[in-house]
């Protein structure tokens, strides 16, 4: 969506409370600031953070943004840390929107549905992708960087310069030391490689 110089990206970040979707949102936030774009980011606080369904609406534009909530039918991307949670917000996805989701379920409920049906549903949305982010993160030496694998995979869709996302990670993980910064940047790059099919 880039007509007459108008740029906007609406992103739903989904997952389960405690899975750390806030770190994904924060990274995009820092990158947006560096890109000098307008943004609004709506978060979930409170009761749902205790293992319930959570989502963040992240809106980016080169013009002032009105609504804090993404209108249904207009999200460019659902970025989900958990496969079933990706589908919960399908009504928000635009006609050309895509899903990028982690492969592995977070099974804290007794009636979790058939996983194959979930994967099939995600992949039936054109250009969508399922990534085993946990496995990829383990290969890099830190299972906690799965979120950054997913962010990397979404980078091109988000539409902010990749270097700005890298800088965002430097800012975000600076407190945790150089090694964490390196691992998470490696995760970001790996995610992008996977998305581009390398």
């Amino acid at each position: 969506m880039n007509t007459n110089g108008f740029f906007k990206r609406d992103i739903i970040i989904a997952g389960v409370g405690g899975q750390g979707i806030v770190s994904i949102a924060s990274a995009i936030g820092y990158a947006t600031l560096e890109a000098k774009l307008f943004f609004k980011q709506s978060e979930v606080h409170g009761m749902s953070q205790r293992g319930g369904e959570v989502q963040s609406h992240f809106r980016i534009s080169n013009e002032p943004i009105h609504s804090d909530l993404i209108p249904m039918g207009s999200a460019d991307l659902i970025l989900s840390v958990e496969p079933m949670e990706a589908l919960r917000y399908i009504n928000y996805l635009s006609k050309d929107g895509i899903i990028i989701s982690n492969k592995n379920p977070y099974q804290n409920i007794p009636n979790y549905p058939d996983l194959n049906k979930i994967w099939e549903a995600i992949l039936s949305v054109p250009n969508s992708m399922i990534i085993d982010a946990d496995e990829e993160a383990r290969k890099l030496g830190s299972s906690k960087s799965a979120n950054m694998i997913l962010l990397g995979a979404a980078a091109d869709r988000i539409g902010i310069a990749f270097s700005m996302l890298e800088n965002a990670i430097k800012t975000l993980f600076a407190r945790k030391g150089d090694r964490m910064v390196e691992i998470n940047i490696a995760a970001l790059r790996k995610g992008r490689e996977i998305f581009l099919g390398k």
Partner: protein, 538 residues
């Protein structure tokens, strides 16, 4: 000027710091918690010596803020909407005393009840108390309005209510800051009996409050926050308040809005602006987040002789949070609908964390209660309310802060013996103590389980007033020491704990069992508070 990415809550906090507050008081409650949390963590606030205190409850928060105002300085008290019920007494009466230093009460409403027991609309409280209400539509306006609100409060000697809703509280956007101001000098009221609400004085103060109403409305007209914008299509006029404005503009992005529009962010309602709009159009549409507050006032009982659309006639849903889609629909704008539906999706309700001490408490309580008929456990507000869900199915009530003890007392008085109360440590300090005093006064046969995780966990681990003093408070109310137990809720202590529960359930008097183990997600916060406590002791 400096621009920061801030949540709506944080914009209010930063504005309070910059507007020169001396103190901020609050009891944590979603979606208001992050206001006070931000001030507590702010380096700038620390350097300015601002007192940022969690309080026992919302009532004590507002009272302390009134005290700061009495001393001529600026104060803010923050709470979630239902917290204003707790603070209603000082809030209502602060309208009568009036303010000396600037006084803002922030109430954060939670339409759609994301984390609440109801979706009450705080604007009714503002109108009830006859004080100005500010309802910012975005993060920047929230910041600006705090500055204006303190000036307004001091100009007219009145408390000001700021009302926000969940979506603004928890959404982040860029906010441009103003030059920070220093705090006020200590300056007592000119009339030292202004705050003495003896009937003879209260009657005079009430006259003064009533006489200010016209000026409050004039402010609503002239402050510049309420805006009347003309439109070319006079078939419809729109009155919109607070954040709902954003949802209209979202639907008309890159198009001119065709209808005359009155944007309300300050109350009392500016009558002349409303009349000007209504006179110029055939029909009126009112869009507001929360209850149909403006809509009802506009329609009155007999109507205005023109159709008024909104939440009351089904143009918008009668309840729940607004969004761009339902607002678009009110203008006949349809949105793109995807074809997919997934009937296999299931809900994922929140639940107690793995390793949570409440799990062990409920398992022990359930086993001890197995020999009795079910339906005996009154509970309260906190993470442990999740004990209502499977696999625990442990509790039978959650009404308001502290109600577990008093409801269990009433149930016991009605013949439900044993009756049990489950309450958290922070909730007990908030509103449980007085109920316990009632039980002791009548030796009610009741077993009270205080699940003490040493923090206010549900809202993210804020200081619990019970830390380091819970036993002495319980004993201080007159509970017999033989019937107060402190247990360690762990798997390995299960049998022992069940026995203690069984013994106290059989006792025909007041028992208090404190199940103490730290919240596993707030360990860092708890450790910090404990360190502060040990420093005080030395």
């Amino acid at each position: 000027m400096k621009k920061l990415p801030l949540l709506g809550d944080e914009a209010i906090a930063q504005a309070a710091i910059d507007a020169g507050i001396t103190a901020i008081y609050a009891y944590p409650g979603t979606p208001s918690t992050e206001i006070t949390e931000y001030v507590i963590r702010s380096k700038q606030a620390k350097e300015k010596g601002i007192k940022a205190h969690w309080t026992s409850n919302e009532k004590t928060a507002v009272e302390a803020a009134i005290g700061v105002s009495y001393a001529g300085k600026r104060a803010m008290a923050c709470m979630k909407h239902v917290g204003l019920n707790v603070a209603a007494d000082p809030f209502m009466n602060s309208a009568i005393t009036g303010a000396n230093g600037g006084l803002i009460i922030v109430s954060a409403d939670d339409p759609s009840m994301h984390s609440s027991q109801n979706e009450q609309d705080s604007r009714y409280y503002g109108k009830f108390a006859l004080v100005p209400i500010l309802e910012p539509h975005d993060q920047q306006e929230a910041y600006d309005m705090v500055h204006y609100g303190f000036d307004l409060s001091e100009k007219y000697g009145t408390p000001v209510l700021m009302r926000i809703t969940t979506r603004l509280a928890h959404s982040r956007a860029g906010v441009t800051l103003m030059e920070p101001k220093p705090e006020n000098e200590l300056k007592l009221p000119v009339d030292l009996r202004q705050f003495v609400l003896l009937p003879s004085i209260a009657r005079k103060r009430y006259d003064i409050l009533l006489s200010k109403q016209e000026a409050f409305e004039q402010e609503s007209m002239e402050s510049g926050f309420n805006k009347l914008v003309d439109g070319i299509d006079k078939k419809l006029g729109v009155i919109v308040s607070g954040i709902a404005y954003n949802y209209i503009m979202e639907n008309f992005q890159h198009r001119n809005f065709p209808y005359p529009l009155l944007r309300i962010t300050q109350y009392p309602l500016p009558t002349r602006m409303v009349k000007q709009l209504v006179d110029s159009v055939d029909e009126v549409l009112v869009i507001e987040e929360g209850y149909p507050f403006i809509e009802e006032q506009l329609k009155g009982i007999l109507g205005i002789g023109k159709p008024v659309h909104g939440r009351l006639d089904g143009t918008l849903p009668r309840k729940g949070e607004l969004n761009p889609n339902v607002v678009g629909k009110a203008f006949g704008i349809e949105t793109y609908h995807r074809e997919e539906t997934y009937d296999f999706l299931v809900n994922r309700p929140p639940q107690l964390c793995n390793g949570c001490p409440h799990i062990d408490s409920y398992e022990a309580l359930n086993e001890a209660l197995a020999e009795y008929t079910s339906g005996r456990v009154m509970s309260d507000i906190g993470c442990y309310t999740l004990g209502a869900y499977p696999p625990f199915n442990s509790i039978n009530s959650c009404v308001d802060m502290g109600a577990s003890i008093t409801m269990a007392k009433g149930a016991a008085d009605a013949g439900l013996v044993p009756a049990v109360s489950v309450i958290g440590d922070s909730t007990f300090m908030h509103s449980g103590i007085t109920g316990l005093v009632d039980c002791v006064a009548y030796n009610t046969p009741i077993t009270i389980l205080i699940v003490d995780n040493e923090t206010t966990a549900m809202t993210g681990g804020q200081k619990s007033m019970a830390l380091g003093r819970l036993e002495s408070v319980v004993l201080g109310t007159g509970v017999h020491p033989d019937h107060m137990h402190v247990i360690d809720p762990r798997r390995k202590n299960h049998e022992k704990n069940v026995e203690i529960f069984k013994k106290e359930l059989a006792y025909q008097g007041v028992s208090v069992i404190i199940a103490r183990r730290e919240c596993i997600v707030a360990l860092d916060e708890i450790r910090k508070e404990k360190q502060k406590l040990s420093k005080v002791d030395q």
